[in-house]
């Protein structure tokens, strides 16, 4: 009987430990698009056997990237193949899908990083201790000022090469807003935005759609609201957020705004269980007026309905004395591992990606403004908006969480938002408390 007991103990221990040592997948922090399949390729050696190809050097460098979408991924793979053709250096380009961020965290923990990878907004805050400074590279002097600060550390080192830059506002359906009698150019403050939502709601349509099953869609909202309420034109708050002295009781304004929209019925009733693609489809069908997704979301809408009239507007200001803003951040930016065995070759690839013709091609595929001054990308249907807001001098500000929150708080933006959307009567208060406690914990973690 004793042996039997011991056997049971071992079996149950092993079964439980199997769970504890298992791996997982979870919604992605950095990838702000829908889930996509993992893709992997080794830039074909066949390319190098073509006439005129450089002989293979025997060196293979690993390139991990997080850019979703078949067209983008194909363009990256093509660029890697062309690089192999020109240099004889093979590239193993891997896109781990929605697990990108977790894969990178695991590899950082093991100090076994790829030779080159895309930094998805975290070039400085998360990856700088692993990245090779790029100040002495030729392209460094041409990085656009809007994005340069975001990839430059406090030590003055540039850690990532931005091929393009994310410029984010609120996505809208022009036809639906016209039907509701809303002129998007008149939505200067959140109060105006609220009034527009009322008009859309009165039409029987959904003013704001959230695909909260993919919880980054909830985090995006706070990321959009927070700078307008706390950090735009408020240097004291900017400083306080960075040094840990921010008064978190103020967070009830941001949380309260989301709660008010929810209470007024401006948000889709399935906001917690619908996914990102449901949002995209609803926008493509003309059932939704506003969504808080970036340019990639607009491209997805056009992929479903090429005739949709979709645009994006700057984020409204908190009041008439403040200015409208657009968020700017890294999109396709890449850096090189400082301890890479093939650092020289990885740097060669990075410079190849930043070459005018290659960079133009890649930034155009992403339909985003280029990150360097010597490249003008084709942004397609969005070009008119970029030109318009540039002419109007709309100010750009960094993503709130990347600039002012310690790494790891994205999860809190998502979960506290979900709590509020669930209709919890104390949601605003609990969200405020959680943000404060998590902020303090993360600040302690960083010190």
């Amino acid at each position: 009987m004793k042996i039997k007991k011991v056997m049971r103990l071992i079996i149950s221990t092993t079964a439980i430990l199997g769970m504890l040592t298992g791996c997982s997948s979870n919604p992605e922090e950095g990838i702000k698009e829908g889930a996509s399949a993992t893709s992997e390729t080794k830039s074909a050696s066949a390319e190098s056997t073509k006439e005129g190809a450089a002989p293979l050097t025997g060196v293979t460098i690993e390139f991990l990237y997080n850019l979703n979408g078949e067209t983008t991924s194909d363009a990256i793979l093509k660029a890697c193949e062309d690089f192999t053709y020109e240099t004889g250096i093979e590239v193993e380009a891997i896109m781990p899908g929605s697990n990108f961020s977790d894969t990178m965290k695991t590899r950082m923990a093991a100090n076994q990083l790829p030779d080159i990878w895309t930094t998805h907004g975290w070039a400085v805050a998360r990856y700088s201790e692993y990245l090779e400074p790029l100040n002495d590279q030729e392209f460094a002097a041409s990085i656009n000022p809007e994005i340069k600060d975001l990839v430059t550390g406090e030590d003055g080192n540039i850690y990532a090469a931005p091929l393009d830059m994310d410029l984010v506002g609120i996505t809208y359906n022009g036809d639906l807003l016209t039907e509701a009698g809303v002129n998007v150019d008149e939505l200067k403050t959140w109060e105006d935005f609220d009034a527009a939502c009322k008009k859309v709601s009165d039409l029987g349509k959904t003013p704001i759609h959230i695909g909260g099953k993919d919880n980054f869609t909830i985090g995006n909202i706070f990321n959009d609201i927070a700078p307008t309420l706390y950090t735009n034109d408020n240097e004291a708050n900017q400083k306080a957020l960075l040094d840990g002295s921010f008064d978190w009781s103020q967070w009830d304004k941001a949380a309260g705004m989301l709660d008010a929209w929810n209470q007024k019925g401006y948000i889709n009733p399935d906001c917690l269980t619908a996914d990102y693609m449901t949002s995209i489809k609803a926008m493509a069908k003309g059932d939704v007026a506003f969504s808080f997704y970036g340019a990639s979301g607009i491209a997805e809408v056009y992929a479903i309905n090429a005739n949709a009239n979709i645009g994006f507007m700057p984020l409204p200001a908190k009041d008439n004395d403040s200015k409208q803003t657009l968020l700017v951040g890294e999109h396709f930016a890449a850096g090189v591992w400082k301890d890479s065995e093939h650092k020289k070759e990885a740097m060669q690839l990075l410079n190849y990606l930043m070459r005018e013709d290659v960079c133009t091609e890649l930034a155009s595929v992403c339909a985003m403004p280029s990150g360097v001054s010597y490249v003008t990308s084709d942004t397609g249907k969005l070009a008119e908006y970029y030109a318009k807001y540039s002419e109007e001098g709309i100010q750009t500000v960094p993503y709130f969480d990347r600039a002012y929150l310690p790494s790891g708080m994205w999860n809190d933006l998502c979960t506290t938002g979900a709590l509020i959307l669930s209709g919890d009567s104390e949601g605003v208060q609990k969200a405020t408390e959680q943000m404060e406690s998590s902020y303090k914990e993360k600040m302690a973690q960083a010190n």
């Binding site: 039997k4 430990l17 769970m19 919880n215 269980t273 999860n411």
Partner: protein, 289 residues
């Protein structure tokens, strides 16, 4: 003889090495991490003493996950055992098409739980879900079932139970087929009713099967992960997290690897204690033929 034993013992070595590399070392490393506030990727690790262990007992999210874990574990076990035993008794009798029925009941076990979760999402989703389509056909208003944490927990418990009821059925079927027919014949001669036969013959003699089925289902329910990730990812907020999904959330999303490790060790201890208590209880009830 000694030499022979020596060579036989060599066969243990691969298993011992695998156990050390994949179980013992991660466990020991996990204990070390649990005393730090490590974010899961940095090369820097600060020791915080027992802070993570004390936090577990005051963290509302852990208490919610603990409650949900017990619901997933205990309710799934109850449903799977009651249904599994009923199926087994039914399928222990001879009738045409018995093999097909057995296969159909067992079939969901072969589907990965994550896939099962995604399939079920199409039933319960608000927009275009099968349940809401039926309600629509009946001119009823649609319901967003998964937006309420309590309802989501109940639905996921049922999905998990239905998926793995086949395992319980197979175990009970094996147990039932081990019982000699002569016991039932003797009982019938003595005038025992069907219920009396079940209570006094079947039930005591399938205790080993009951023990195995209960422990397997209990561990399966207590570590439920995939279905939750597919259907709610633990949301809304933290309301449908199990301890397993909370560990993932804290490790990767919240970047609290130290705390996640502490929750992992707590979960390990919890499942270990519960499964061994259940196992000991059934050991005492075992009847030998």
């Amino acid at each position: 003889m000694k030499k022979k034993n020596f060579y036989i013992n060599l066969f243990y070595i691969p298993a011992i090495i695998l156990f050390i590399v994949f179980v013992a070392y991660p466990l020991i490393y996990g204990v070390r991490i649990s005393f730090t506030n490590w974010n899961g990727y940095s090369q820097k690790m600060n020791y915080v003493g027992l802070k993570n262990y004390l936090r577990i007992f005051t963290d509302e999210n852990v208490l919610i996950a603990l409650r949900n874990t017990l619901i997933y574990g205990i309710c799934s076990t109850l449903i799977q055992n009651v249904l599994g035993l009923a199926y087994a008794i039914f399928l222990n009798s001879k009738f045409k098409g018995r093999s097909i029925v057995r296969t159909i009941i067992y079939l969901p076990v072969m589907i990965a739980p994550l896939i099962m979760g995604y399939i079920m999402y199409f039933f319960v989703q608000y927009d275009g879900g099968a349940i809401n389509d039926i309600l629509h056909a009946l001119h009823k208003a649609p319901v967003d079932l998964m937006s309420n944490g309590t309802v989501a927990v109940c639905i996921m418990t049922i999905i998990n139970s239905i998926q793995f009821v086949g395992t319980a059925m197979i175990i009970y079927l094996a147990g039932l087929q081990n019982i000699s027919v002569m016991y039932y014949e003797a009982a019938e001669i003595d005038g025992a009713s069907k219920w009396q036969q079940f209570k006094n013959i079947t039930l005591p003699l399938i205790v080993p099967a009951l023990a195995s089925s209960t422990v397997i289902n209990l561990i399966g329910g207590l570590k439920l992960f995939d279905i939750i990730m597919a259907l709610t990812s633990g949301g809304p907020g933290y309301s449908s997290h199990s301890l397993s999904t909370l560990i993932t959330n804290q490790y990767f999303s919240a970047q609290n690897a130290g705390y996640a490790s502490t929750i992992g060790l707590f979960t390990f201890a919890l499942i270990m204690i519960i499964s061994n208590l259940v196992s000991s209880y059934f050991d005492k009830k075992e009847v030998y033929m």
